[in-house]
Symmetry: C2
Subunit: 296 residues, 2 copies
Amino acid sequence: MIETYIHEKGKIIETKLEDYLNHYREVPDRLYQSMKYSLMAGGKRLRPILVLATVEACDKPEELAYPLACAIEMIHTYSLIHDDLPCMDDDDYRRGKLTNHKKFDEATAVLAGDALLTEAFTLMSKGVRAAKLSFDDSLAIIEETAKHAGAFGMIGGQMDDLLSEDKQITVEELEAIHRRKTGDLIAFSVRTGARIGGASEEALTSLTQFAYRLGLAFQIQDDILDIIGDPELIGKPVGSDQENLKSTYPSLLGLEESQQLLARLTYTAKEELLKTTELNPQRLLDIADYLLTRKR
Amino acid sequence: MIETYIHEKGKIIETKLEDYLNHYREVPDRLYQSMKYSLMAGGKRLRPILVLATVEACDKPEELAYPLACAIEMIHTYSLIHDDLPCMDDDDYRRGKLTNHKKFDEATAVLAGDALLTEAFTLMSKGVRAAKLSFDDSLAIIEETAKHAGAFGMIGGQMDDLLSEDKQITVEELEAIHRRKTGDLIAFSVRTGARIGGASEEALTSLTQFAYRLGLAFQIQDDILDIIGDPELIGKPVGSDQENLKSTYPSLLGLEESQQLLARLTYTAKEELLKTTELNPQRLLDIADYLLTRKR
């Protein structure tokens, strides 16, 4: 059962994140508490789980991947803390809990985000050793982190997202934003798993295509849940996108067409994965199906 | 003449920074402009110059060190952008120019800082290749970046600095703040130069001790210039620390004792450097003397 797998791997990731956080007990307590608050605030742990599932698809033991998987979750968490700031999306709640700057204050939230991003590279460095990667693969992972999480990737996507506020944008522009804002880190998760698993260039390409489609489907589902989701399950009120006049897939395409696009993207994502015979892809296929029907 | 050296090396660093910035022309223009604005806003370029001078002290060609030196300047610049934010030190001017969030806006400033930090690791990664470092030295540099710029280092120092506002603190507490907030990145600059130069553990230790003393002296001089400096030269009004009730060396020790401490620290910094016979330290000694008498 994929639900069981996701639940169990999520627990493992949380245990590992707590272990790594313990190294930071000696930093200023407010900073430590703030980093811990957001990192341990729940969430689906999708990105680290994708790392583990990809390593499994390459028939390698997932234990090799724990530090790198956790490093990616730290980068994801830092991006949420900064995106929630008053000067950005100005959100008071995330996953049913106060956002970091509401729980602490803005300065602490900026610094906790900065620290999680910086310390992710400490963990990356430990991670490439733990995974016994070659020098070239190790540097490739550090470079890809920056590429996917940096100005060309996640940060650039957030910048364009902010610039598109209160503006009419096209579906292509919306896709270009989400490809970077969400897709890049999801693709990086899968690519990191692939490198740990020793995948060929061909398999790496298939996995990357799979991940970008999955990432886009994930974002469309987010947009849909903001309309028809259960506020209890998604941890925030529904209708906030519409209230904030945000361009979303349903606002540009309508709800029904968005649901069709979601299903189509999930299907083509899975197809990409089956293009290579090198992988053992069942878990990743199941994750794609699971995300298609997620309620939170 | 050390002034000539500093001027010339500063120019080289600026040319290199512009080269690296050119890679970012394709990112969202507002993000690119904002990164460029702060990175090219002048400044003493002390940290990258220390990298180059340390490589020279190890009798290796400085060209090896350009990417890593520039990466450290990017980290320094990101920290200034975030420190200037309204929720932090709330500064409108730096080096006589509008701060990043005043020139652009807060969201852009947060993202430009995030991007400079993230992209510094891209450049680190290129840098360890350019410097032909071993796998172990390369990972050590990535780990040390995070250690000096992260929660244990620069970010932790800024957190404690914010927490000490409007509070009476001791000279020891002030030193502990500056050791992390300023000293760590200066020490990291010298340590990076030493690794590129292939320095022994003994020389690395001497250089590190030199750098922490130099970093503290640098901070004390900053505090002194805020009282007796020329506003034209330092690019901001004098007396702002006193106005903001900030704990500084002069406020805790008095001006005269601070000046004596500055001279003593510079002297012991230089002594540290002379403890090893392995180095060719003249340039670093000259830089220490130069900083002692700087007017900006």
